[in-house]
């Protein structure tokens, strides 16, 4: 699929306010998202055509399952008239998911450059790390560490305070 050159939009205001953008996930599912919501993503902002007809934007890095949720997130955050407190509560529920899903959200937020989602997910991961020793962190995220003997020694020295 050929794409026209990206629009040189300085401000993120929709060209056709109620226009729907079509997105295609890596596994071939198509999703529709309002342009206003799509503009939450800097990546999508750069890809949206200036004219109002568009072929689905392919997103090879995001699966259908995750893209559906991302669309949901962006739509919610583009909704007018939502007060801060309820949005925060909604966000908390949104990330109240399995570890592996948070991982996918982070990667999607990074690829699609959605600052609000990236911020939210990084905070969640930081919360998962808080209060844990390196060993506990490894167990939690199922990381098999392979430090060199020198690094191992350095790590031991730097973290002795947690065990003394």
């Amino acid at each position: 699929m050929s794409s026209s050159p990206p629009p040189s939009s300085a401000a993120a205001s929709p060209s056709c306010p109620k226009k729907m953008i079509a997105l295609r996930s890596s596994d071939g599912e198509t999703f529709e998202i309002e342009e206003a919501a799509a503009l939450q993503s800097k990546t999508l902002e750069n890809m949206i055509d200036e004219d109002c007809a568009g072929t689905p934007i392919p997103l090879p890095n995001v699966t259908g399952k995750i893209l559906a949720k991302v669309v949901e997130f962006c739509s919610k955050h583009a909704e007018p008239g939502v007060d801060d407190e309820s949005l925060r509560a909604w966000d908390a529920e949104f990330v109240n998911v399995e570890q592996a899903t948070v991982f996918d959200y982070i990667l999607a937020a990074n690829f699609l450059e959605i600052p609000t989602l990236l911020n939210l997910t990084c905070n969640v991961v930081a919360d998962m790390i808080r209060g844990k020793t390196p060993d506990e962190i490894r167990k939690f995220f199922n990381i098999k560490s392979i430090f060199s003997p020198e690094e191992e020694e350095e790590v031991r020295r730097e973290n002795h305070w947690a065990f003394e």
Partner: protein, 368 residues
Amino acid sequence: MVNWEELPREILELIARRLAIEDFLAFRGVCTSWRSTTAKETYDTKSKTPWLMIYADNQRAEFRSPTTGRIYPMQVPGSHVRTLSAPGWILASQGDRDYHIFNPLSRVSIELPALKKLRRKSRLRVQLDGPKRLQRRHPRINRIALSSGPSSTRSYVVMIHIHQSLGPLGFAFHRSGDDAWTAVSPTMYLRRSTVLQLIYYDGLFVALDANKQIMTFNKRNHRMESRLILGQNIFEGHPYLVECSGSLLAAWTMWGEGYGPVKEIRVFKVDLEKGTEEEVKSLGNASLFLNGNSSFSVEFNAESCLLGVKPNHVYFMDNIDEKKKSYSMDNGEVETYFDAILSHDRFYFSLPEREDFEESTGVGPSSL
């Protein structure tokens, strides 16, 4: 398949930025890729809430993390401990001898030369020469400053001000790798006086004495030079020199009538070039932490994670009731920051510098 080890570097950085000191250190110990994103270039030691050094005696110190309340005991090479401005390093000594620069987190310990080892003959050395004179006069380090954190890859200078039982003796310095101190010759017109503060700022060692004189060390002729006299109008306060957002500040904690608890803190920006000072009413998005030997500042920005700390505040210990308090530059309110009364209550920056030391058999740093 989810592999947390393979999170992109920029994301790991975003996560690491949000962690308090102890969680940040744990993060670094998880795996090689997580560790490599926390190299010195990617974090600023002043972006995290400082720990409190709440106890130091019998070769042990305890550090408390204000954000989690957890206390971490660590071994230190000495019973008398003071913080240094090089982040993460302290000065530990056994009585008035055996001075070590020590990093409790990496456990690297560097022995300083004995005070009586002065390289140049000067009035200073003559007074310290001779065992009898030495014993009677009890020389000790009154103030100490480092040009940078100790490192095996670049040289640094340690400057000290020496006191003896009869009063101030003078300044001396030592370059890393030297095995002796070099005395700073006294300057004719500068009256010898107790040095209250000694810091390293903008490439210079800067001292403030009890006559409110600010002097800097001239590297070429090895003498102290007077720059200005501070705080003509301030009579009932204790001064602290501290760098903040690139400027040199003198902060005065002013006690209430009859030596009551601190009522006010006034801050002045010192211009060494012009020899002037100007009162500062706001620290902007920075805050100060005042320690007797070395104070420091923190800045609130996108990279910082300063939980429990507020901008435009001064954090200090009130010597009257020995409580750790905060002073708001906005409205002058004094609040208790940490109210347990413990000995050796000091603010301590515990993120170590990222210079690694190699174990060596010669003169140089060794691990505890």
